[in-house]
Amino acid sequence: MSNIAVSLQNLTLAYGDTIAVPSLNLDIIDGELIALLGPSGCGKTTTMRAIAGLMKPRSGTILIDGKDVTKTPANKRGVGLVFQSYALFPHLTGFENVAFGLRLKKRPNDEIVQRVEAGLELVGLSHLATRKPSELSGGQQQRLSLARSLVMEPKVLLLDEPLSNLDARLRLDMRTELQALQRQTGITMVFVTHDQSEALALADRIVLMKNGHIEQIGSPEALYDSPQTVFAADFVGFENIFSVGLNTQNEGTTIYNNTGELTLPYQANVSHLAWRPGGVVVGSGPHKGVVTGMAFAGDKREYVITTSAGKIKADVDVSVPAIQIGEDVFFDLPESSARMLDDKATQTQFKHG
């Protein structure tokens, strides 16, 4: 058990009468960088706040390092939290913000100075130690907030959408820095994001959440390659998802949505089939459709093909000559690039139908 840093057991979290997270079970391994991924409102922040002790669970247990901390107050849990909005203290300088927790612990002054300086160094803010938060840029505030948590050497560091308030360039830089920091310090980190590419790029493991439930847990590769549910597939970029219907006439498979259907020449004994746009073959194949949309995206062209089973998104390499809008086109939905989803629980949903 010792390599499990945080364990959530049957954790139920509620705001008044609304249950935000019903009965969550999750083990976070010591030293890993784990992502809570899911659309806005799925309960990521709520889960974090419960781990930190800012919110009392309705029921269930939270273990940190094997100890039950469900009733332990937030200031005694040894959990760090980097807030989405950084929550820096406006009246204190950068240095004093970072020193805040150490001063509370009544550490000797020498030690405080040394640890704060090391912390600021780690996030590259040594030269801005005397500034107030309002005199720092968004990225600097974000790093200051990180340093403030890191110097406390928390057992677990929680980061709530740490990169969402930064602009695109900075976000990419900070991704790398965050990952490097985690490797360097070895602190168990849980970060929240609604951005699948961020989760895939950073995390050792991804917890995909939906409506307070865990939809799927796995490595970025596993989630990317083999989503288990319609929701997971949709979230990692399988934009063409079809329900599979019973086919009594021949050996093939009928896939359908609310506008029509299409019969594939192979069998699939699952509830849904899904393809990424890149997995659709355009220019040859047994099916015919009309190109109704085309967007140039540098290395590829993104087509929308209207078929008897609704709209299909397909990406084609730029080296292939462009097909004009309005032209008929043959295409294939090959078995090799299909993901078979056995997701009886999910009601058929058609994003592009």
Binding site: L54, M55, K56, A74
Partner: protein, 271 residues
């Protein structure tokens, strides 16, 4: 962290209890006195109160002065606020400071100044006699006019401040746009400024109206016993005739009018 309601209640409790005990409880009893005659519940006190001409005069005078002060404040307030908002920022700050400055000065001092101005030997009378407009000084003190002037000076800043903050929120181009579209200044006022500053007008109007209703010092100094208002009447009833039934009735009337003004005018602002 803030989910613990008992904790929250415990924090407001001292303030709430303090006010409830020192305020609501005694005021409540005072109001109830108006509904009692000789220890019995009765509306006879009210019937008696209404039957006296002086009481009616004072009531309507108070109401009239309240409306008048609010109305005149609004007219002068609009003109002044509009001019102030269009000043340059630095000048605007200074003028704004001068507008709110009287609010910080003791109302006794502010009212007292009018004795110097309006008294028998005050500047106004000196000027009138000096210019030969009248042989003897004119009586200004202890008239409704004096009370009106005193109240206007006391409460107008509240109206101006409310209107300034309402006008600061006016879209910058609304007035030029209306002018370009051919609106006259009167139309600009009724169609653009008035609707967009209505909430400020209502807030200012409430403050001025209730302020004037409940002012004591101004009617006491500038009106005396000749021009009684409800507050000075209440003081007299208690101090001169020990009449707590009347006191309870006047208190009820004042509170009802103040709350009424707050509620009604807030409705008007929302409508």
């Amino acid at each position: 962290m803030f989910q613990n309601r008992t904790e929250g209640l415990a924090l407001v409790l001292p303030a709430a209890v303090f006010i409830a005990v020192l305020f609501l409880f005694p005021v409540g009893i005072l109001l109830s006195e108006g509904f009692k005659v000789g220890g019995e519940w009765s509306l006879a006190g009210y019937a008696d109160f209404v039957s006296k001409p002086l009481n009616r005069t004072v009531f309507f005078r108070t109401l009239k002065l309240g409306f008048l002060v609010a109305f005149v404040s609004a007219i002068i307030g609009y003109a002044t606020a509009f001019c102030i908002v269009n000043l340059e920022p630095a000048q605007r700050g200074r003028v704004f400071g001068l507008i709110i400055l009287p609010l910080m000065i003791s109302p006794v001092a502010r009212t007292y100044a009018w004795i110097v101005i309006l008294g028998r030997t005050g500047i106004v009378n000196k000027a009138i006699v000096g210019m030969g407009l009248s042989d003897s000084p004119i009586r200004f003190l202890f008239t409704e006019t004096a009370v009106f002037i005193g109240l206007l000076q006391l409460f107008m800043p509240l109206m101006i401040v409310s209107l300034i903050s309402a006008m600061e929120n006016l879209p910058k181009d609304a007035i030029p746009a209306a002018r370009v579209l051919g609106a006259s200044w009167l139309q600009v006022f009724t169609k653009v400024i008035l609707p967009l500053t209505r909430e400020g007008l209502v807030l200012g109007g409430t403050l001025v109206f209730t302020g004037a209703l409940t002012a004591y010092i101004t009617p006491a100094i500038l009106g005396g016993s000749k021009v009684l208002m409800l507050e000075t009447l209440l003081y007299q009833r208690v101090n001169v005739s020990n009449d707590y039934v009347s006191a309870g009735i006047i208190a009820t009337i004042l509170i009802v009018m103040c709350f009424g003004a707050n509620v009604v005018l807030r409705r008007v602002a929302k409508a």
